[in-house]
């Protein structure tokens, strides 16, 4: 029973931080919802402003709400935030010189991995197989000799 309760607790949806602003316009509501889940709370750093209870996050949510009500577009608000807090405020940072390592790093590592696997496999393959056969034959012969020696010993 306890385990089931614990499980239900784990399943319960993560509740969004306190104040939710309401819009009459569904488009603005959608823009608001996506913005608060894309902007980083700079105090807690690993939460979005929609998730965070920090005061700064609440102020930024208010800012987003007010700007949307003034008819500002999503791009305007993203620009407003990056002008003040830098690219770090965006969970989805733009591709430019300073963020190139961030974007290209994983691709580079994947390539390095693929090249390593390729080289490894090729080296395995290029090992002379003839040697193997020779060695096997030798071992086989040795085993046979042992067996026959044993047999003769037993017989005698």
């Amino acid at each position: 029973m306890k385990i089931i309760l614990l499980f239900l607790l784990l399943l319960s949806p993560i509740v969004n931080a306190v104040d939710t602003y309401q819009f009459n316009n569904p488009e603005k509501q959608a823009a608001y919802d996506s913005l608060v889940s894309e902007l980083r709370c700079l105090v807690c750093q690993n939460q979005t402003i929609g998730d965070s209870n920090a005061e700064l996050a609440a102020d930024l949510r208010r800012q987003v709400y007010e700007m949307l009500q003034q008819g500002k577009s999503k791009a305007d608000i993203q620009q407003f935030m990056t002008d003040r807090y830098g690219d770090f405020v965006l969970y989805n940072p733009p591709f430019k010189a300073t963020t190139s390592l961030l974007w290209l790093g994983p691709v580079a590592f994947l390539l390095i991995g693929l090249i390593a696997v390729f080289l490894f496999v090729r080296r395995k393959k290029s090992l002379p197989t003839a040697d193997h056969a020779d060695q096997d034959a030798e071992k086989l012969a040795a085993a046979r000799r042992l067996l026959t020696d044993k047999d003769t010993e037993n017989l005698s």
């Binding site: 005061e55 102020d59 800012q63 003040r84 770090f88």
Partner: protein, 177 residues
């Protein structure tokens, strides 16, 4: 031989990356404001709320903009350092009393001393947002033309004042306004 050198090189590269990563401060976010005009404000003064101070009033002088609050623990650590700086009268220090109660703020200045030429009030944090404030205390250096030249996040220490702030202030004061 190569068998040992390659892993060694890989290890050294990894170690260098990790060492650099360990020494970075994740709260030290580069401010997009450096060498940009300071955001404009016009806000009531803490001690005389009927009067306002605006960025225009500060044109032609080098000033520090220090964001503080009575609820901010690190500000308490920073405060004696600012008091010491104020004593030298090297630069105008403007305080932004960020998301604070005026009474608490005044009490704080009465008991701990007031290093600010003027403190302005930002009770709802809007000036803070305009200046990209995210961790109090923060300190900006603004030049005579009203351009932000430096930003500190976190408490200013005597070392940063001696090694960074004072030389910069001297340099900026020598510039033409």
């Amino acid at each position: 031989m190569l068998k040992f050198i390659i892993p060694l090189i890989l290890f050294i590269i990894l170690a260098v990356f990790l060492a650099v990563g360990l020494n970075l401060n994740p709260h030290d976010i580069p401010s997009p404001f450096i060498n940009k005009p300071a955001p404009v404000f016009s806000a009531p003064k803490l001690t005389t709320p009927t009067e306002k101070l605006s960025t225009g009033d500060l044109k032609g002088q080098v000033w520090l903009f220090n964001v503080w609050a009575s609820w901010c623990v690190s500000c308490r650590a920073e405060h004696p350092v600012l008091n010491e700086l104020a004593k030298q009268q090297a630069v105008t220090i403007i305080g932004l009393n960020y998301k604070d109660e005026a009474d608490d703020a005044k009490k704080w200045l009465d008991t701990l001393g007031n290093p600010y030429n003027v403190s302005i009030m930002d009770q709802d944090g809007r000036i803070g947002i305009d200046w990209g404030v995210y961790g109090v205390p923060e300190t900006f250096v603004v030049d005579k033309k009203g351009v932000i030249r430096l930003k500190f996040t976190g408490p200013v220490t005597p070392e940063t004042i001696q090694q960074t702030l004072l030389p910069l202030i001297k340099q900026l004061q020598a510039e033409q306004s």
